[in-house]
Every structure is written in structure tokens, then in C-alpha cells.
Symmetry: C2
């Protein structure tokens, strides 16, 4: 297949690298500099140089058999007009955190799958990414027929890079959203590794309150979600959360897609969530991000 | 008069320096090193060297005509047995922030005044303090007769260092407590100057919530207290709050006396106050303070 990957961040590069073992990949990026780096020096995962990968700018987007959108939610709105202009037959896969993107993609009259990424990845340069945690990608049908997803999964499937099917997109994204709504803002606010969610009793207390509020807004079981949060904080203990990485790099965070989504969709006060929302905004402002 | 000042922090040194213009001062300190620094090199306020000031260790406490207790609340509990053993005639003046000390001093069968300090002061070394903001000390009777306080104020009074009487100790401490409960934890959490309470819209939002909760717990008018908070954040805009100074110096903060007091005395949920309480605790732990 000819697969287009939109976005040259850590997840875009990681997905490109693995899928290129079996497919022709075009990575669509925003900066000429990154396009040139990939085309001149190739895409490198860890120490392995990939083949069958080229890069174009996003405005050079052409027909592909499948498009996987890996930009973060803040960049997504710029992309929507371009996606509207595509042919109806190209299936689109959206891999954003949070649920802020749902509002955007609702309006697209295409076959759409949404998914979550459970891999750890760090982009080291414009054409090099490290795979720091082996995981899964889980996909669910958002618009279109579920059996089409089966065919697509069969085609995409590559050894060592499993892509699994989930039945309910809302359930799938909600679970990841709760985890992100707890771990991301707290690790960013305090500048701590994920393990501190379990290890610092005061961070743990706040985490429990955030989990309770997020699960309540999304209609999920609080205790079940809390067990998952603790488990993931443990499994990714040494990791720096993506929001803290963004903050440290003075990039806009995914706050709106995660915490902002909960605030916008709650019909009661969620003060702990409100507190982290305004805190991360204050830190973004202090760092000159907005 | 012979006046004993307990505590060689910024406020202890400042009060000692001004009162020594008219009185014999003994500063009681915890560390031999500080005692020696003051006795060998004298106490210096800004560039002015004082006379009539000597230093002893706290366990060398002897009879004084009046004792002014300037240690912070976390150090106060260590002092209570010593204060119990003093003669009943010595009036005690307590100048702690917050209201955590009220529980401690209730049990003392003495004449007690409590007060608040509106001066800015920074301790530069064991025997040198800068007077960074001219203000007032306000005192109110906690135990004993109010007319005794009139006599004491007349005796203590020194030019350029006004000490005024307030009628109601609870009102006096509550007003300061609200201001401290808003400005101290937020400036510490975000590492910002006091002015940001007014200038950053997100910090301002959180400040308003904290003010509302604190005023409610203390039975005060929210709008009136909010005006005072904004006014003081403006007047002290360039200042680093005492809690942030403590955190930066890896010292235990006055969190328990301020935010902790509110949590212990509220009969309803105060989630914004709870959030800053656990946040500052988490930062204290991260900094190895406890």
C-alpha cells in the first residue's frame, strides 16, 4: 500500500518507520527543513535506517491508499480544510490524544478510524526517533463499516508493531483520556516523572481526585479507571510525560484536548480539573508559549 | 525596657534592630553560630549598625520585661515548654503568620498579644537584615486586659517603626490569613512574583477561588477580602513571597499554619485550598524538605 503519514513528530516517525517494512510511506511535514532531512538522510529508528520512506510538505498531499494523521490536536484544525478536499475513498486514521479532535472530525464525510498509541517514542532529530516503550496501537471505527477496519488491519499489520481492533471508539478514547487527564498535567505542574503519581502521597491524592472527576464526566467506573492510572504510571515510571516534554520544549501542550475537553463536557463543578487547567495555562504563559 | 526577641530570622532581626533604638534587646536564637555572629559583629539593619543588642541561645532564656516571639509557626511547638516555664508577669507577643499558633498559645496561662507584621524584610546573613518595605506592626489582645496593651504600646513605640493597636485579634489575623492563603501558595507553586496574582489571568482565576474559600471558612466578606488581596499583590508586586523564599531555600514553609489551618477548620469541601495544600507538600517533598 501507499500510506501517507501526516505529522513528523515522535509518533509520526515511529509509525512511518514500522509500516515502511511492508509499505511505501510518505511523511507529510510542515517544515521544509524536516522534509529535506528525511529525504537526504533517511528516516532512522534507533540505529536502524529505513527504506521506502520519503517526505513531502503537507500542502503537497496527493492520493494515498490510506492516511494516518499523527499531528497533535492543536495542529489539527489547520489540517481540516486539506482533509475535506481529499477523495472520499481514502480511509483516515486519527491518532490524537484526548477527545478534542472528535468535534473536528465529525464534520468530515469520510471513512474514519480513531485510535490510541501505547508506544513510547522520543524524537531525537528531524529524521531520527527512539522507540522507548513497546506497546500497541488500538483502532476503532468512528465512521464507516467495522469489517472494512478488519481488512485494513490485515493490510497494515507488521511484525513487532501490533495494531489491534477495539469495538467502541468512545470507550477506547475515554480510557486513554482519563489516564492522560491525570498523569499529564500533574507531572507537568510539578516537573516529575510518571512514577511519582504512585510514589508521592500528595501527588497521589491529587491524582485520585482528578481520576474521579474525569471518570465521572465520561460516565466510567472510578475504581476501575484508578487502577489503570496507577498501572500505567508504574509501567511508564521512568518516562517524562508528553505534556511535560512539550512544556520543557516551550511548545503548546495538549491541555485543551485533554483537560479542556473534560471542563467543556462536564455538567457539574470539577474543581481539581479546573485547577490543573488554569495551572498549566499559567505555566504556558510563564514560558512564553502563548 | 529589657526586651527578649525569640527567633533570629528576618522579622526577629528587624524588630530587634528598631526596638534597640530605645530598649535593651536580647535576641534568642537556635544556633551558636548566629549567636556568635551577632555578639561579635553586632546586628546590622541595611547599613546601620545597632547598639544595645546581644544574643543568647533559646535555652539561655532569662527574665525579660517583655518577650516577642518571631519564630515561624513550624518552630513554635519546640518553644512552648520553655514559655510555660516562664514567670506569669512577662507579657508575650506572638507575630506568626496564619492561625496555626492559636491552638498552641491557648494553653499558656500568660498575658498574650498577637500581631501581624506588614514590613518587608530579607535576612542577608546571621547578623544582617534589609528593610525592604516600610509598614506597620498591628497588635491585639489575645489574653489579658486591653488597657495593659495601651501601656505596652506606649513603651515600645519607636520613631519610624509604628506599632498600632487592633481591637479584635481574630479579625486581625483572619485578614492576614486570607491574603497569605492566596498569595503564598500560588506564587510558590508557579515560582512567580506577587504581581502575577493580578497580571496572569489564570493565576488570577485561581486566586479568586482561594480567596472565596478562605473568606468563607473564616466568615468574612468575599468581595472585601478579594479587594485587599489584589491591593496587597499590587503593593508588593516585586516581592518574592515568604513561602517561595522558604521553598527556594529548602526550608519548611508555613503551609500548615496558613492553608492547613483553613482545611482543618472548614466544615465543607474547599477543593482549591486542598489542591494547593497537596501541591506545596509535593514540592516540599521534591525539594527534600521533609
Amino acid at each position: 500500500m501507499n500510506i501517507g503519514i501526516i505529522g513528523g513528530g515522535s509518533i509520526g516517525l515511529l509509525v512511518s518507520g514500522f509500516l515502511s517494512l511492508k509499505h511505501n510511506i510518505t511523511i507529510y511535514v510542515q517544515r521544509e527543513e524536516q522534509k529535506n532531512a528525511i529525504n537526504r538522510n533517511g528516516l532512522i529508528i534507533g540505529e536502524r535506517k529505513t527504506s521506502r520512506v520519503r517526505s513531502l510538505l503537507i500542502n503537497e498531499l496527493s492520493n494515498e491508499d490510506c492516511l494516518i494523521i499523527c499531528v497533535k490536536q492543536p495542529q489539527l484544525k489547520l489540517l481540516i480544510p486539506i482533509l475535506h478536499s481529499l477523495g472520499d475513498k481514502i480511509p483516515l486514521i486519527f491518532l490524537q490524544n484526548g477527545m478534542g479532535h472528535i468535534e473536528f472530525i465529525k464534520s468530515l464525510d469520510k471513512t474514519i478510524y480513531v485510535g490510541i498509541v501505547e508506544h513510547g517514542a522520543i524524537r531525537k532529530s528531524d529524521n531520527r526517533v527512539l522507540h522507548t516503550g513497546k506497546g500497541l496501537i488500538r483502532l476503532a471505527t468512528f465512521k464507516g463499516h467495522s469489517n472494512q477496519l478488519n481488512d485494513l488491519l490485515k493490510a497494515l499489520n507488521v511484525d513487532d508493531f501490533p495494531i489491534k481492533k477495539s469495538s467502541h471508539w468512545k470507550q477506547l478514547l475515554s480510557e486513554k483520556l482519563v489516564v492522560n487527564a491525570v498523569i499529564n498535567p500533574l507531572t507537568t505542574l510539578f516537573g516529575i516523572k510518571n512514577r511519582q503519581i504512585n510514589e508521592d502521597p500528595h501527588v497521589n491524592y491529587l491524582a485520585r481526585q482528578l481520576c474521579k472527576e474525569a471518570a465521572t464526566v465520561l460516565g466510567m467506573d472510578v475504581n476501575e479507571e484508578w487502577s489503570k492510572v496507577k498501572e500505567i504510571a508504574k509501567l511508564t515510571g521512568d518516562n517524562t510525560s508528553s505534556m511535560l516534554v512539550d512544556m520543557n520544549n516551550k511548545r503548546e501542550t495538549e491541555l485543551e484536548a485533554i483537560t479542556g475537553y473534560l471542563l467543556a463536557h462536564s455538567n457539574q463543578d470539577i474543581p481539581y480539573t479546573s485547577f490543573v487547567y488554569h495551572s498549566i495555562k499559567a505555566l504556558e504563559r510563564k514560558n512564553g508559549i502563548y
